[in-house]
């Protein structure tokens, strides 16, 4: 570090104290050239840092040309010493050069290393990223695997030597909180740190950072090169490297080391970065826990703690926490006294946080989490100028478009995709992924002529602003797939409602993003566990069950999905009965929809215990007390619905159904309540009344017994119920009623409704069978399980929304056949039928 040598400014990446010191040192040194640790490829784009539109946090992004998923980031924030040095130099028109090992080599080395320990299971791609950060300051932490033990965390060692158990705190006390003494030598801190690092390097060598000798050799060569050209040279690099860069070595030795390094072709650009991604929480290698706090320390002109507390108070007030100026004063006092007690030179983040918790947040961690998220980490989003080179995502997209022969055209056009074809499936995936990323190039429309699940129709239109969206989406990743994965994971965390997360899971399947699925599922399971509203859960269930089935069709591993779906079904089942209590008419109607949806979804799950328990729950519901004036009960609509669903599933025989109906129509029940019961019971098909005269008789008897004053009240309900019936059914029911008490029910099997003979004509019935077979596809060998409605044989006339099963019910064929099967019930039926005639 002598005058004729280059000035080596050892720093800690992302340290505001380091940044300040670097600025002071550069002002004192007035160098002719500034050398910064970073990939030399970035020399070409460094000028952009001076651009007006450039706003940190940003990152240098280097990626392999042939494979954009191989990428490394060098993030810098406003308080990063590197950024300070770059800006300082550019403002004074001093050239800036990056001197680290070229990314071309780092990538190639990482690839080779990855190849080497393929079996070891180390994530090679990430290793390249972490290497790129220059892990000197905080390395060691992120490589928890095999290599971790040999790596040295220099700051940790120094902190331990100084008697600190926390490396971060030692660094804060020793470096970040140092108040630069006015007029002193701005280089003094660097000399001290260099000495300390020198001692460390003597003891630990390269500390297990494998590529360090190579990188340092390259840096030395670049420094020598600069020294030949310029007089005063300043080098900003990780403090760890300083001793190695100061060492005297021969040019030939350094050249020798770098000889024959593998290389790949790389491109480099600036991308916007966020404070959140600088933070450790996001799992990125940059590894600072509190970028927002550092930013504050760097930008606050004076009294950092007092200013910080004021910021915190402002945030809490925005969120409606009553925080007064007195609180701020007390927090500052507490933080400063705590610092004295802990023997620290200045109150740090720990003291500030303790004080905020105790004074402003009433000891609670809940508002504190907000402070941590919004201020300590922070929401800052960087910007890069438009002139920055294209992000790799754009390239990846262009390449995929070419490969799939899918040109971006401004003209709107429709695209039919047959997902059974390889290319079309890939196209569909691409479009789904882009939609997840907010790049709405294609919009899915309803197919013209096909309802098959293997067809998709898209309307494509490439708008110019989509290019901007692509650039924005570049933050999420370097390929369409990885960006969509990251975005999906993020959206899952941010999604406000449970149903949105389930929809997202479905989209992840459509877009084939298996890596995003575990994260989405996790969020889904957590949300489901905490959501107390059964409605939300029931809404989420159908999409999820669809996803499970869809995943099966696509051969995706959907075990996790199925587990979540089953868990959700259990929660709905447990939560439903209490949720049905004490609802008003609108609430009950809403709940009926949930009940239907959840019932259908549960039916599609292939888990018998779950189905059995679901049926048990329905039975309980059907037998519940109706609502009274004093106690909240279950609305008739829901009880009737539960009875109907059970009946449709053959879990309730008609006798029991008749008993329940009789109960619902007992004289004590309010007419409106009974009408609601009918609505629930008969919704989605009235064939039941045609086939079972006993039920019809009960309805009829009740209806005629409704007192005139109440009749006007129940009329709308009844009208709604019966208007939903098919016209044929309505007519039949009407005819049956008009026929009135005509057929005196005889004892035995002789009783037959009008239009039916006493004994079925087997020959005529058999004549229908071939047609029926044809309709059901029983002989053709087609897969009857393809359609969910058709597959569940018990779903006779049941499912809302009229699937194939419904249509068949109204076919004149099956009723006739069913009339046969119902013969079995006839004997008992005739007994209860008697009173009907009397009442009339």
């Amino acid at each position: 570090m002598s005058g004729d040598d280059a000035a080596l400014l050892g720093i800690r990446h992302h340290g505001p104290g380091s940044a300040r010191a670097v600025r002071a040192a550069l002002e004192q040194l007035k160098p002719d050239v500034v050398l910064v640790e970073g990939p030399p490829e970035a020399d070409a784009v460094v000028e952009l840092a001076a651009d007006e539109q450039m706003r940190p946090p940003v990152a240098l992004l280097a990626h392999a040309v042939d494979d954009t998923s191989k990428a490394a980031f060098w993030p810098v924030a406003e308080f990063s010493p590197e950024w300070v040095a770059i800006r300082h130099a550019l403002e004074r028109s001093v050239p800036v050069r990056f001197i680290d090992l070229p990314a071309a080599h780092t990538f190639a080395l990482a690839a080779a290393e990855e190849h080497e320990r393929e079996s070891g299971g180390d994530a090679g791609g990430e290793a390249a990223g972490a290497e790129g950060e220059g892990a000197e300051g905080e390395g060691g932490q992120e490589h928890e695997d095999g290599t971790a033990d040999v790596r040295v965390d220099p700051i940790g060692v120094l902190a331990e030597t100084a008697g600190y158990d926390d490396a971060e705190r030692w660094w804060e006390d020793a470096v970040e909180h140092r108040v630069a003494d006015e007029g002193g030598d701005a280089l003094a801190p660097f000399t001290a740190l260099a000495d300390a690092m020198g001692a460390l390097r003597e003891r630990y060598g390269d500390g297990g950072h494998r590529n360090d000798p190579l990188r340092e050799a390259h840096m030395r060569l670049r420094i020598r090169e600069a020294k030949r050209e310029f007089e005063r040279v300043a080098v900003v690099c990780g403090a760890w490297h300083v001793p190695a860069l100061a060492r005297r070595t021969t040019v030939t030795a350094d050249r020798q080391m770098l000889k024959g390094l593998p290389r790949t072709k790389v491109e480099i650009t600036w991308v916007p970065w966020t404070h959140r991604r600088l933070g450790m929480q996001s799992g990125y290698g940059a590894g600072i826990a509190s970028p927002g706090w550092y930013h504050h320390l760097f930008t606050a002109p004076d009294r950092p703690v007092a200013r910080w507390m004021t910021k915190v108070a402002g945030l809490l007030r925005e969120e409606d926490h009553p925080v007064s100026s007195a609180h701020v004063i007390e927090s500052v006092r507490l933080a400063e006294t705590l610092a004295v007690m802990r023997g620290r030179p200045l109150a740090g983040l720990t003291e500030a946080t303790d004080a905020v918790r105790s004074v402003m947040c009433d000891g609670s961690d809940v508002p504190l989490a907000l402070v941590r998220d919004r201020l300590v980490v922070g929401d800052d989003l960087g910007e890069v100028p438009d002139s920055a080179p294209a992000v790799p995502l754009q390239r990846d997209l262009a390449r995929t478009q070419r490969a799939l022969r899918l040109k971006p055209e401004a003209l709107e056009r429709d695209l039919d995709l047959d997902l059974r074809k390889e290319t079309d499936a890939a196209r569909s995936r691409l479009l789904h992924r882009l939609r997840l990323l907010g790049i709405d190039w294609g919009e899915q429309t309803r197919g013209r002529n096909s309802t098959g699940t293997f067809r998709e129709t898209w309307r494509l239109r490439w708008e110019p602003e989509l290019a901007v969206r692509v650039a924005e989406a570049g933050v999420w990743g370097t390929t369409v797939a990885s960006a969509a994965t990251a975005k999906a994971q993020d959206r899952a965390v941010e999604a406000p409602t449970l149903a949105e997360v389930t929809a997202l899971a479905e989209r992840c399947l459509l877009a084939e993003l298996p890596d995003a699925l575990p994260a989405v599922m996790r969020v889904l399971a957590d949300r489901a566990a905490l959501d107390a509203d059964v409605g939300h859960l029931a809404q989420a269930l159908p999409a999820l069950v669809r996803s499970v089935r869809y995943g099966d069709v696509r051969g995706t591993d959907s075990v996790a999905l199925r587990e979540v779906a089953e868990g959700l079904a259990v929660r709905v089942r447990v939560g439903l009965p209490p949720a049905c209590l004490g609802l008003d008419a609108d609430g009950a109607r809403e709940m009926r929809r949930h009940l239907d949806a959840a019932h259908q979804a549960t039916g599609l799950l292939e888990d018998q215990p779950i189905k059995d328990q679901w049926a048990a729950m329905l039975t309980g519901l059907a037998n519940r007390e109706g609502g009274g004036d004093s106690s909240p009960g279950v609305s008739g609509l829901l009880r009737g619905r539960a009875a109907r669903l059970l009946l449709d599933d053959n879990r309730l025989d008609t006798d029991e159904a008749a008993r329940l109906m009789g109960l619902a129509f007992s004289p004590g029940t309010a007419p409106a309540e009974a009408a609601a019961w009918i609505e629930g019971f008969l919704a989605g098909g009235g064939m039941l009344l045609v086939h079972d005269e006993r039920l019809l008789g009960l309805v009829d008897a009740w209806l005629t017994g409704v007192p005139p004053e109440a009749f006007n009240d129940v009329l709308p309900l009844l009208r709604r119920t019966f208007s939903e019936f098919e016209s044929g059914v309505r007519r039949t029911v009407g005819e049956l009623v008009r026929r009135g008490d005509a057929p005196a029910p005889a004892v035995g099997a002789g009783a037959a409704p009008s239009g039916f003979a006493a004994v079925p004509d087997a020959a005529r019935a058999d004549a229908v069978l071939p047609v029926l077979r044809l309709l059901l596809g029983l002989d053709t060998g087609a897969d009857p399980g393809r359609d969910p409605g058709g597959a569940t044989g018990g779903d006779i006339g049941g499912g809302p929304g009229g699937d194939i099963g419904d249509d068949l019910d109204d076919d004149p064929g099956p009723p006739h056949l069913r009339g046969r099967s119902q013969q079995a019930h006839r004997p008992e039926q005739s007994e209860t039928h008697v009173p009907e005639g009397e009442r009339r």
């Binding site: 009553p322 007195a326 507490l334 006294t337 000891g363 107390a532 259990v570 447990v574 939560g575």
Partner: protein, 371 residues
């Protein structure tokens, strides 16, 4: 003074005060303590923290830890007292609030007896002052006729006053503290005088933050306190340890027949309580809803004790899942509608799947169905 007798006779006391029980440690600390002490403090803040958290002194005296938990909490508490803000210790039952408060007072003022026990019937006199009516009638209002409260004495002597269960005190009585804490003075309008607090005075209050039916602090009062929440035991091991130790003690004092304390059942109870309380399973993989009950360590202790009594008197003498199931149900399901769903969900999604919990699941299902 009525309290002096017990202080002197501490050797025979059933439960000696902290300052007597740990007199040796306090003396050693005071001798070794060379840091600046706030006025009328017996020890420096650093030494007070060491007294509570434990450590070794240069002269070899070992200070036993009085509080096992995060260091941060004690540091904030001590610092609060040094900044003349009042300290509010919050926590669910069984988190050592009173214990910490007593030791803090003992270490700072050497006196933990200036205590106001908060109850629904605590009168204003207990916080301000009362009158000796015989004196009052005989000689008229004067300082002699005045009976100072512990708080008033602490103010005039510059010591720490303690208030237990602050939130149980009726709201209007609570508000007497506002003047004391903000103006640091206690007016005596009857005499036209006031008692001003001298340096060293401060208040440590404890309150239960999840108890129902308490008088919540007014924001005016709350603003005068720095709040420290004492956490529940950090790990299962710690909590299991606390529960088994207490169950053992209680069992002996209630003279329950010896029952081989089922370590497995205790662990199970603690696990259930922790999971429901934290809203996440022990492995951190599944979230669960939290019921409205507190589910404190103290309740876990009572559930196990109950179970032991059941097993001893009506069972086969071994603590079985069935013995604790109904106790757990009672502790968890406080609100019959909402909590029952929470509990059933927990049973179906967590307990049912767990290895070795079959018996417990069955026992719980039976108990739950019976309700």
């Amino acid at each position: 003074m009525t309290t002096t007798g017990t202080v002197n006779g501490s050797n025979e006391a059933l439960r000696p005060h902290a300052e007597d029980a740990f007199a040796e440690e306090l003396k050693a600390l005071a001798a070794a303590d060379d840091r600046p002490r706030p006025t009328r403090w017996n020890l420096s803040p650093w030494a007070v923290a060491t007294y509570l958290l434990g450590g070794a002194l240069p002269d070899g005296t070992v200070i036993t830890p009085k509080y096992v938990g995060p260091r941060r909490i004690i540091e904030v508490a001590v610092t609060t007292l040094a900044t003349d803000r009042a300290l509010l210790l919050l926590g669910v039952p069984g988190t050592a609030k009173t214990w910490v408060s007593e030791h803090l007072a003992a270490a700072v003022s050497g006196d933990s007896t200036l205590l106001v026990q908060g109850t629904a019937g605590t009168p204003e006199e207990a916080i301000r002052y009362g009158w000796n009516y015989a004196q009052l009638l005989a000689h008229g209002p004067s300082r002699d006729a005045l009976v100072p409260s512990p708080v008033m004495r602490a103010m005039s002597e510059g010591r720490i006053a303690r208030v237990e269960e602050l939130t149980r005190i009726p709201a209007d009585v609570q508000d007497s503290f506002i003047t004391i804490l903000s103006e640091k003075t206690l007016p005596i309008p009857e005499l036209g005088e006031e008692t001003q607090a001298v340096r060293g005075f401060n208040v440590i209050a404890t309150a239960n933050d999840r108890d129902r039916g308490v008088n919540d602090l007014s924001s005016a009062l709350r603003r005068r306190f720095n709040t420290v929440v004492l956490p529940l035991p950090a790990t299962v091991e710690e909590e299991v340890d606390i529960v088994s130790r207490r169950v053992d003690q209680i069992g002996r004092s209630l003279e329950l027949p010896e029952v081989p304390a089922g370590a497995d059942e205790i662990r199970r109870v603690v696990t259930v309580f922790r999971e429901l309380r934290d809203g996440v399973t022990g492995d951190g993989r599944t979230k669960v809803k939290s019921p409205s009950g507190t589910l404190s360590t103290a309740e876990a202790i009572s559930v196990v004790t109950n179970g032991l009594a059941l097993a001893a008197h009506f069972g086969d003498g071994v603590l079985r899942p069935g013995d604790v199931a109904s106790g757990i149900l009672g502790a968890v399901v406080r609100d019959p509608a909402a909590d029952k769903v929470v509990w059933q969900e927990y049973l179906e999604t967590v307990v049912r799947e767990r290895d070795g919990w079959k018996d417990f699941y069955r026992a719980c299902r039976e108990t739950t169905a019976g309700r």
